[in-house]
Amino acid sequence: MAYREKTAWLTLVCMIVAYVIYFSLVLSGQVGPRLLDIVWTFGIVASIQAVVVIIGHVVLAARSDADERARPDERDRAIARRGGSAGYYVLLVGTIVVGVVMPFSDPAPKIVNTALLAIVLAETLRHVLIVTSYRRGWHG
């Protein structure tokens, strides 16, 4: 498995675990309605996720050859573009929902969490496309 595929898997798995936990807390009512409650809980979850991802990257880098860690080549860049472009559309829809539709009908905490969900979904889709492109191939 390519080094960049491994790091994409690591990021994807950590992200899914972290945000399933966060949104479970939100849905079960354990996160307060104040902005500070949301930022505090999200901050803790995001920080733990970031630390795990950084440690994972260090471990993966130490266990792979220098050749594998070389600068991204055209295939890596094409796959990254594919993921980024798909994630952009999810983020676009999320932005329209959060910024144009919800302010007229929903309370602030729901808007904030929907915005966070849109970011998480966009990033998840981006990484899913990256790992599937490495697995199954990608012909641009």
Binding site: R136, G137, G140
Partner: protein, 73 residues
């Protein structure tokens, strides 16, 4: 949006590496500025390289492009 036509690019890179004194994927990758994994993906038909990369690969083996890559429709 235009529908992609059926067919795929196939290549003779594995054979050409064998004929070039068993050149490794890593060696070829180094000469064309790609990682070993990308060379492996091209050989396995999992990635179609850009035209520039295809020319660089053909140049390494001293072959015309159509002896390295073919269109299988």
């Amino acid at each position: 949006m235009a529908k992609p036509l059926p067919g795929r690019v196939v290549n003779q890179i594995r054979l050409l590496r064998f004929m070039a004194s068993e050149m490794t994927q890593a060696e070829l990758g180094e000469r064309i500025g790609m990682t070993r994994q990308t060379v492996a993906a091209i050989e396995a038909g999992k990635y179609s390289p850009t035209l520039e990369a295809a020319f660089r690969i053909a140049q390494v083996f001293g072959k015309p492009l159509d002896e390295v890559f073919q269109w299988e429709g």
